[in-house]
Amino acid sequence: MKRIGPFIVERRLAPPRHVVFGVSVLAVVVALLLAALVFWAYGVSPWRAYAEIGRGTLGTVDGLSDIVRRAIPLILCGVGLTLAFRAQFWNIGAEGQLLAGAVAASGVALFVPVPDGLRLPLMFLAGFGAGALWAVIPALLRVKLQVNEVISTLMMNYIMAYIVEWLVHGPWKGPTMRGFAYTDMFPTAARLPLIAGTRVHWPTLGVGVVAALVVGLILSRTRLGYEVRVVGQSPDAARYAGISFTVVLSLAMVISGGLAALAGVGEVAGIHWRLRSPSHISMGYGYTAIIVAWLARGSPIAAILTALLFGLIFAAGDLMKTTLGLPFQITGVFNGLILFSLISSDLLMYWRIRWRRRGEAWT
């Protein structure tokens, strides 16, 4: 507790829901006001900017479908991350796990002889497996050798990005691509169906929503979920209770990495239909998903909403580039402002300011 003039600043242990919601909305409003200044300074009327953005994103079917399409990988990665974060396992590696899924799915799509009907399911399975395998390595390193997972998961992103780069420049370079670094196009049976008139690959969206529900159930209703929470909130209590860190962290990372990898499967099978340079497969979805999970406060269901929010922010950024003709750097500033205010608003949730009551003692 701190005293500033007649005010008392004190810590809130568990902020009530309406505070969390109210403060978050306030943060977005503040960010929009700040961004309005940037627009104004750039010579674009903020009113017009927001009107165009609103109409282009929320006002048309194209705009809405674009939000959803961008949200799909964020939902899958974000949901997985909420589980890892609940165990206080700081998985920064969703980006690499996503790419691992994209690699495995591309391998199945291009090189594994299976009947057409089984190809897509097998791609999802192989993708999940590859992501799980990639994610379980840092979990084991942490439990067995006390390797800091922030570093190991982050570094493994680079390894996977270079593996993708090597594959498309080397053994998997497509003979029909005239020497450019892309694999051949996937056969039709390896492409995900889209919602007619949009680019939304609905099977991946469905998998994402189901995953959110299942992870929600795991966390609240199962022994694994309970153990994950105990490991996260009180490692000493967990150890005392005889909970195996190896099992709990490995399982949490298998699910977390597997789900991120499914996002990668969805991107290559639903959007690109080939493996290509890593920076074009994922526009940093694995990193953005960290914020998605963090804003969702560890709730997988809430991660769907925060993922959609980021889908909206991305789509708004695109629109600023096209309709308003702003340079891409302004898009970055806009996204950054929103992120910055959301993250710094955290302070307001956990601290409250109130008048000192008459006669109240300073403590």
């Binding site: 450019f180 580039k321 096209t322 340079p327």
Partner: protein, 410 residues
């Protein structure tokens, strides 16, 4: 009778007026893969866009930068919604998105840079440097003292491989024992990696440099050690005036101008582009071998009747382009070889001789004129033959004289 004539004249004028109105305005959208400030590929396309935009009243242009390859269709949708009737996509990775969009919007004209998929409403275009690299190679071969020329390559794809091989053939023509040492950085833009690669090549003993990367890093690093180099894509002379020998410059505006004017005149329509493929070289002026391009001064009020190649009204050339940096003129003139075709000739003269052969509309020479052997000793172009266009854009082999890794070498 007079009345009748008058009516006819009025009718004719009205018709002309209607036709005139029919010649619609063109709104052209440009989709770039990188930022316009990259000092390379995207920057050059945007400079070209601004030139044609200023030149024609009937033309309006818009652009979108830093578009990820998988997102191109979304952006094309938005440009079409904004009323663009011509769309240029300027990265190979946009190929399938552009092709799909061309099917979806049969009334919009598309042009895709560096690709090979065409449709009745989709053309392809490319300004290629291989002749220029060959000319630069001639100079590099004369300037190297160690017999090792360094090359920092972006990606081992046919385009870059073609350029390195053409460069090497030039080096070897004047210096048969010299080698071109290659380092790949696997990025189009990465100054840090380019610096590292240049330093490694210097450590290997290379003393002249050429490269494919969208920044002046190689030029700067080489200049710090007092070593000459060749600028790439944009004019890089100003970054090291004493060390930039020459370079490869692009003029995309030449292609954009031709293409858009032909649309405006009704020569190109949404139904006849299936075979329109620009592969423009020195002869068409789409590329240039120079350290500094010509400075052209534009004047709306005409003072002389100099023919105009740029913007508004009249233009006068203030200074011609600097093909060879004067600092190196002496060295190139003093370096003479016994050439099988031209006898005793200085490299300086050889460069201009070859340059004229390329610039001649009926090109009389090609760097890959057979017999050409790859570095493994295989005959890749038979004697007396030139490479076909398909061979050029798919070539994976390395010319004799190239040293270093060559991913995908047959």
């Amino acid at each position: 009778m007079n009345m009748r004539k008058l009516v006819l004249v009025v009718a004719a004028l009205t018709l002309v007026g209607l036709l005139g109105l029919g010649a619609e305005k063109i709104k052209a959208g440009f989709i770039y893969v990188g930022p316009i400030g990259d000092y390379g590929w995207t920057h050059a396309h945007d400079v070209a866009r601004r030139i044609v935009d200023e030149k024609y009243d009937w033309l309006e242009t818009v652009y979108i930068e830093s578009v990820p390859e998988g997102e191109v269709e979304t952006y094309i949708d938005q440009l079409v919604r904004q009323g663009c009737n011509v769309i240029f996509t300027t990265s190979f990775g946009f190929i399938d998105g552009t092709f799909a969009a061309a099917q979806r919007y049969p009334n919009v004209i598309f042009a895709h840079a560096s690709g090979f998929k065409r449709a009745p409403n989709m053309a392809t275009y490319m300004a290629d440097f291989y002749q220029v690299y060959y000319l630069n190679g001639l100079m590099a071969g004369a300037l190297t003292k160690t017999g090792k020329v360094g090359y920092v390559g972006a990606f081992p794809i046919p385009e870059v491989k073609r350029h390195i091989s053409a460069f090497t053939i030039g080096v070897r023509e004047v210096n048969p024992t010299a080698e071109v040492h290659v380092r790949w950085i696997y990025e189009w833009y990465n100054p840090a990696a380019a610096k590292e690669a240049t330093e490694a090549l210097i450590a290997e003993g290379c003393d002249v440099f050429a490269f494919t990367e969208d920044s002046p890093t190689v030029v700067q690093v080489a200049a710090e050690r007092g070593l000459p180099s060749f600028g790439h894509y944009s004019p890089m002379y100003e970054f090291a005036p004493d060390y930039v020998v020459s370079g490869q410059l692009v003029h995309w505006e030449v292609i954009y101008d031709d293409f858009l004017v032909k649309i405006h005149e009704g020569i190109y329509t949404t139904r006849n582009l299936a075979h329109v493929d620009y592969w423009w070289l020195l002869a068409q002026g789409a590329v240039e071998c120079a350290a500094v391009p010509a400075v052209v001064y534009c004047e709306t009020a005409c003072v002389s009747d100099t023919s105009c190649a740029c913007c508004c009204g009249c233009c006068c050339e203030i200074s011609p382009s600097m093909v060879v940096n004067p600092v190196y003129e002496r060295a190139l003139k003093d370096y003479t070889i016994n050439h099988p075709a031209f006898g005793t000739i200085s490299v300086y003269d050889l460069v201009f001789l070859r340059h004229n052969q390329f610039a001649d509309p009926g090109i009389t020479f090609d760097p890959f004129e057979g017999p050409v052997y790859d570095r493994k000793g295989n005959l890749v172009v038979p004697a007396g033959m030139w490479m076909s266009y398909d061979h050029l854009i798919t070539m994976e082999w390395a010319a004799a004289g190239v040293a270093g890794p060559w991913p995908g070498e047959p």
